[in-house]
């Protein structure tokens, strides 16, 4: 069985991989096949890829400068010449603002997705593995954070730190990590009493190695699923902070702030608030669909086939 005589697909699906690289790639490829069979998840993935593409190529795609004001041309309806999605109260092109706003949305999502789950993973696994006093202290701190309504806590943080997109991200992250810590701790508690952890302890492995190499890989999949499902909530929280004037500041084309501006004349000029609303809806839905699909792929309980 030489490599030349096999197609790439056969090589990846081989029951007897011959190298570390092949085994790893095969595992990824099988996950991809499962994900691809889920049409809804693929639709979600397509929207997210589109969003990323739009954000990267915003300067090329946007027909106008998102900050260019033209008061003589304000509140144009949908389908106006040169402004497909109309213009807002200052005569700025809504489509261009949506396209540039994709960058801000992605920025928020990426930063929160980097901070909250990692903090949660650290706190949760350490708490679950160490047990005893460490567990009690860390979990009570988590409880305190969980006891506050999320948006109110984020509001308090932003009010203390000052309005702005970075502080909004920080505030959302600070309120978003406790559920991840809980999840990671619950997973750790079931994992740490299992035989394979005992087995590696009997090889003389220390707690650091056990947590990073043996517990994290099993926690991460459920965290990834949870993150993608939470993305919608994070985007909405960011939009909510923007809407309240505590997130992105004008004239930045953040979608929540755009809704907030359009709210004043929503009855007469409905598209000004509706278009960014639809964008938020589409992206939130996309993350939810992808999260559902990823859960099917990554859940270790289902991967035994």
């Amino acid at each position: 069985m030489s490599i030349q005589s096999m197609t790439l697909r056969e090589w990846l699906l081989s029951e007897t991989p011959t190298s570390r690289r092949q085994a790893r790639l095969a595992a990824y490829y099988k996950g991809w096949l499962t994900l691809r069979a889920n049409h809804m998840a693929m639709a979600g993935l397509a929207i997210i890829v589109l969003l990323v593409g739009v954000a990267i190529f915003a300067p090329l795609l946007a027909p106008h400068d998102p900050y260019y004001q033209d008061l003589g041309n304000r509140l144009q309806p949908l389908g106006t010449e040169g402004h497909i999605l109309g213009t807002d109260s200052l005569g700025r092109d809504i489509l261009s603002r949506l396209i540039w706003g994709a960058r801000i949305t992605l920025y928020i999502v990426a930063l929160v997705a980097m901070i909250a789950p990692i903090v949660g993973l650290l706190v949760g696994t350490v708490s679950g593995y160490a047990g005893g006093w460490v567990d009690i202290v860390l979990m009570r701190v988590t409880d305190i954070f969980l006891a506050f309504p999320r948006l109110v806590l984020a509001l308090a943080f932003v009010a203390a730190l000052g309005a702005g997109i970075e502080n909004a991200v920080l505030a959302i992250s600070l309120t978003a990590w406790p559920p991840y810590a809980r999840l990671a701790r619950a997973e750790t508690l079931t994992i740490r009493s299992s035989d394979f952890i005992s087995a590696i302890r009997l090889q003389g492995a220390g707690p650091l190695l056990i947590i990073t190499k043996h517990i994290w890989p099993l926690c991460i999949s459920s965290l990834i699923v949870r993150v993608t499902l939470d993305m919608a909530g994070i985007i909405l929280a960011a939009a909510g902070l923007g809407f309240l004037g505590l997130g992105a500041q004008p004239p930045s084309p953040e979608w929540g702030a755009m809704i907030s501006e359009g709210r004043r004349f929503i009855l007469d000029y409905w598209w000004v608030a509706t278009m960014p609303g639809l964008a938020i809806f589409a992206v939130s839905l996309a993350f939810n669909l992808l999260g559902d699909g990823l859960r099917d792929v990554l859940d270790p309980k289902d991967s035994s086939s």
């Binding site: 035989d195 090889q203 035994s304």
Partner: protein
């Protein structure tokens, strides 16, 4: 022959001070190096707990334990884990679900400070009767018997002198059980290993061991040689009950 394991007056407890469970009550036994010693009894009799106490997985114990001439304290050092290794009961639970056979064995070898990891992984797989084709498989691509072979390979990785076997075949099909037991016998001869084997199956113990301790409710009620066990010469009623319960199977093993 020197003594591989010497245990005197071992008590093991579970739980905290309010709700203490006395799992093993003053157990005393010794195992010669190169011998196979069985621990038999019904479930909950404390036989696996003794293994846990030896390996340091059961933290609350008192008494004297001496392994390969070294008295055991509260902590086990790396040298201990190079001498003593354990094979767990359930091969479906004892392998990390996200690690390939190669990862499991390489990591173990790295922890024990070996350098020529590639060759050793191949050698270990050959030792337990798995070819190189299995090296990059994940546990879900292996059968129960193959998984247990991988678990045995992992236990053999540091070249231990003593192997603790916690019901190594009870989770497996009957046909596979015999294969694994024979593999363990061959490995013992090859690597000059000392076995302590926990089982509820007297037939398995009669097949594998030279002597056995019978346990009930955390106490060792009797230690007897396998010849006596096969001949039905026991001093204790409970042992007699156990023997009667599996009499025909012990006899068939004896006839082999």
């Amino acid at each position: 022959m020197s003594t591989a394991i010497d245990i005197k007056g071992l008590n093991v407890y579970f739980g905290d001070s309010h709700n203490l469970f006395h799992a093993v009550k003053s157990a005393t036994f010794a195992v010669e190096s190169g011998a196979s010693f069985g621990l038999v009894g019904e479930s909950g009799s404390g036989k696996s707990t003794i293994l846990k106490a030896i390996t340091g997985l059961a933290p609350y114990w008192e008494g004297e334990m001496t392994v390969a001439g070294q008295p055991l304290g509260a902590k086990r050092d790396r040298a201990f884990y190079k001498t003593v290794q354990m094979v767990f009961q359930d091969p479906y639970a004892s392998l990390h679900p996200r690690q390939s056979v190669d990862q499991v064995l390489s990591e173990t070898l790295r922890l024990h400070g070996f350098k020529d990891i590639n060759d050793r992984v191949d050698q270990l797989l050959k030792d337990v009767g798995l070819g190189p084709a299995f090296r990059f498989r994940y546990p879900h691509q292996l059968s129960g018997g193959q998984r247990q072979r991988v678990a045995i390979a992992r236990a053999l990785a540091p070249n231990p002198k003593i192997l603790l076997l916690d019901e190594p075949t009870s989770a497996l099909d009957v046909s596979v059980q015999a294969e694994i037991l024979n593999l363990l016998k061959d490995l013992q001869a090859e690597h000059d290993l000392t076995y302590v084997m926990v089982s509820h199956d007297l037939a398995v113990v009669a097949h594998m061991c030279d002597a056995a301790a019978v346990m009930r409710n955390g106490e060792i009620v009797e230690i007897l040689s396998i010849e006596d066990m096969r001949a039905g010469k026991t001093a204790h009623d409970y042992t007699m009950q156990l023997l009667n319960a599996s009499a025909n199977r012990v006899a068939t093993v004896a006839a082999d």
